[in-house]
């Protein structure tokens, strides 16, 4: 059971915050700041969960989601966005969950834990 988590977000401080918070929860955390970097890291390493932002500088998080599903179908993916609108986009339904960004990370941590246990 892998406890490796990949945080994909173009916002450096978000990456830092999530890394700190999840590391404290006992997870091994890696980060990527773009879609291409995320695809590369997932194809090379074994991640249990990917926390994926949608608004990325090089491509849409929904495109990244499709690619990740192809290269690592076993990896759980949580879409994590400041936008709620993508929830209604059918492409987002490929993800295991959709969590809107919040200063309260309880919901995100709870979901990660669920997915890790489920694997």
């Amino acid at each position: 059971m892998s406890q490796r988590i990949l945080i994909v977000d173009d916002e450096e401080m978000i990456r830092l915050l999530y890394r700190k918070e999840l590391s404290q929860g006992g997870y091994e955390v890696d980060t990527a700041s773009s879609g291409a970097e995320a695809i590369k890291k997932v194809s090379q390493g074994n991640f249990g969960v990917v926390v994926l932002d949608i608004e990325l500088p090089d491509m849409s998080g929904l495109e990244v989601l499709q690619k990740l599903r192809e290269i690592a179908p076993e990896t759980s993916i949580i879409l994590n966005s400041a936008y709620t609108t993508y929830k209604s986009d059918f492409q987002s339904w490929l993800a295991d969950d959709y969590i809107v960004k919040s200063s309260d990370l309880q919901a995100l941590k709870h979901k990660i834990k669920q997915l890790v246990v489920a694997r």
């Binding site: 401080m13 978000i14 404290q24 919040s102 200063s103 990370l105």
Partner: protein, 601 residues
């Protein structure tokens, strides 16, 4: 009645036919009574009025027998008159003679003596007021005809209103100052069905009514113009009893009938002079109660507008062709006026339609601008909200992270403040995002009670936590409003939530929906104890104050949403002194896509 001087008898020679002829021309009836009260001589007019030509029906021509029918009172006072102590005068006596002719008569009985040695006699002079009046204004007189036509034309040209025009026609035809027919019936042409339909009638429905009306009109001494003016300003449509006589009378113009022929040829018919009457016309005259009718089509530029039927049902006077011809001229003028009125109505309707369309266009333009504005605002707020979400997540997230480390109490307190304020700001961002997302949805009919019920249900958990009870009372009927369901739902939810969380202390409130005239209302009523009313009102004012600067963003958005939907929001105090909040929205019919008018401010 006044006694005359017995010594001075009028010095008229009754054998002088010149006098009789002269009085004949004036339309007066003369008769001579001998000392025993027998009528010994009479002229044609008197014969017509007193029905003396039916003498054969009586044993003799004694005044008492005449009076049994006419009840003039002359027979009772004959002795006084013959003795010269009284001149018998009776004015405006309504009576019906033995031929069934109704009249209003003036009767004078004068004591006379033809010569020194002649016996006492009484000279009777009688006149039928209606005939006397008409003959004084004889329509066959060219000058009189022109006056009538000119006055009716002037009245017709003063109005564009069809009802008034029809009233003028009928008044002109029946007034004694006009054509003087007893009754006139108006039938309008239904082109689609090719039928004449009874529309309106003017005139007395009985002899008694005729007596009353004609006496009253006579006493008013109005000119035709004055009478037409007076009738124009009167409400109503003709004489009710007479109008109801023809209200359901339809005449089919398809077949061959005198009426059909008159209408098709545009030529009048005096039925009095027609020997054979077809079944359709027979039905027509039977309904009107007399075959002595003039039928006059109303034609304008070859188009049949209707038919006038006029008669002298009450006085039984014959209808002269001259009078019918004159009625035809009046009918032609009236037909032109009717066509003009119809054109005027059509133009007015077009102008009103144009005005309505212009108004709708202006409203639509205004709405488009508003929608564009809302769309831009929606996109802008959405972008701003998203831009805010990341920094809020970072600041709040690190504050929460820091709270897990070793801190002094003071540091912990400050971090808790940062964390809670960040949460509040995130909540505002959520509301703004909800609203901007809602603004993209299309408007449609929404049932207000259902919308309120669903939103209140979402709040049940919070209400239980705060030990607040909100009862729900929904209108029995459907309260359909038009709008963006998400926006309205958001506005209602935010209102209820604010009330539940910030206004009501542990206690009760009632959420009610109801119809008020053309508005659908949501009322939130607060049941607070007497000593808590002021506090509740103060709390409500603080949150929902009119001053926008002091309002919360959530309230501002909700209120603007309601206003955008043509509604109103406010705080009021009921008759029971309990404060309540209300939201009013324009009602629509269930199958209506939009309210008739929304004032989108």
């Amino acid at each position: 009645m006044k006694a005359c001087e017995t010594s001075s008898y009028p010095a008229i020679g009754l054998q002088d036919t010149v006098i009789w002829d002269g009085l004949d021309r004036l339309g007066m009836g003369l008769f001579r009574l001998n000392e025993e009260g027998y009528i010994t001589q009479f002229n044609a007019v008197a014969a017509g009025i007193l029905a003396l030509d039916r003498y054969g029906a009586w044993d003799d021509l004694h005044i008492s027998k005449v009076d049994r029918v006419l009840a003039t009172g002359l027979a009772d006072q004959f002795e006084d008159v013959i003795n010269g102590s009284l001149t018998f005068v009776r004015k405006n006596l309504s009576c019906t003679n033995s031929r069934g002719r109704f009249m209003v008569v003036n009767l004078v009985g004068i004591p006379i003596r033809s010569g020194e040695n002649a016996g006492k006699e009484v000279l009777g002079i009688v006149e039928d007021c209606a005939i006397a009046h008409h003959e004084a204004d004889d329509p066959s007189n060219v000058h009189q005809q022109l006056r009538i036509l000119s006055e009716v034309a002037a009245a017709l040209s003063s109005s564009f209103e069809l009802g008034q025009i029809l009233k003028i026609i009928l008044t002109g035809a029946t007034a004694s100052q006009g054509l003087g027919f007893n009754r006139t019936f108006l039938f309008l042409y239904d082109e689609e069905a090719d039928k004449l339909r009874g529309h309106m009638a003017v005139g007395p429905s009985s002899a008694e009514e005729a007596g009353r009306i004609w006496k009253r009109l006579d006493s008013m001494r109005l000119s035709l113009s004055e009478l037409l003016d007076a009738h124009q300003s009167e409400a109503g449509s003709g004489t009710d009893a007479l109008t109801s006589l023809i209200a359901d009378l339809h005449v089919d113009l398809n077949g061959d009938s005198l009426i059909s022929s008159a209408c098709k040829s545009g030529t009048w018919i005096n039925l009095e002079k027609v020997e054979e009457i077809d079944p359709v016309t027979t039905t027509f005259v039977e309904r009107l109660g007399t075959p002595r009718i003039a039928l006059v089509p109303m034609v304008s530029k070859g188009t049949l507008m209707g038919l006038l039927a006029a008669d002298n049902y009450i006085t039984q006077q014959p209808i002269s062709d001259d009078a019918v011809q004159l009625l035809q001229v009046l009918a032609n003028q009236a037909a032109v006026a009717m066509e003009r009125a119809k054109l005027y109505d059509a133009e007015r309707e077009r102008a009103e339609l144009l005005e309505r369309m212009n108004l709708q266009l202006a409203e639509s333009q205004d709405q488009i601008i508003k929608i564009e504005k809302m769309s831009v605002i929606g996109e802008l707020t959405s972008a701003v909200a998203h831009e805010l979400r990341n920094p809020l997540t970072i600041v709040g997230g690190f504050a929460n992270l820091l709270l897990k480390s070793n801190l002094t109490d003071e540091q912990r307190e400050y971090l808790n403040i940062i964390s809670s304020e960040i949460k509040r700001t995130e909540s505002v961002v959520d509301h703004v995002l909800d609203f901007s997302r809602a603004s993209k949805n299309e408007n449609r009919p929404i049932e207000l009670s259902g919308l309120v019920e669903r939103n209140l249900e979402l709040l049940r958990g919070r209400l239980r936590q705060r030990n607040v009870e909100m009862s729900l009372s929904l209108a029995q009927e459907k309260l359909m409003v038009h709008g963006n369901p998400d926006q309205l739902s958001h506005a209602v939810y935010q209102m209820l939530k604010l009330v539940a969380e910030d206004v009501i202390p542990p206690g009760t409130a009632e959420v009610r929906t109801e119809r008020r005239d053309e508005r659908a209302c949501l009322l939130i009523k607060f049941f607070c104890p007497d000593d808590g009313k002021e506090k509740t009102i103060k709390a409500l004012k603080q949150i929902f104050a009119d001053n926008k600067a002091s309002q919360r963003l959530t309230v501002l958005v909700a209120v603007e949403t309601i206003k955008y939907h043509g509604g109103e929001f406010g705080l009021a105090v009921g008759n029971d002194s309990l404060p309540y909040l209300y939201i009013e929205l324009p009602l629509i019919e269930e199958d209506q896509s939009e309210p008739a008018h929304i004032d989108r401010r």
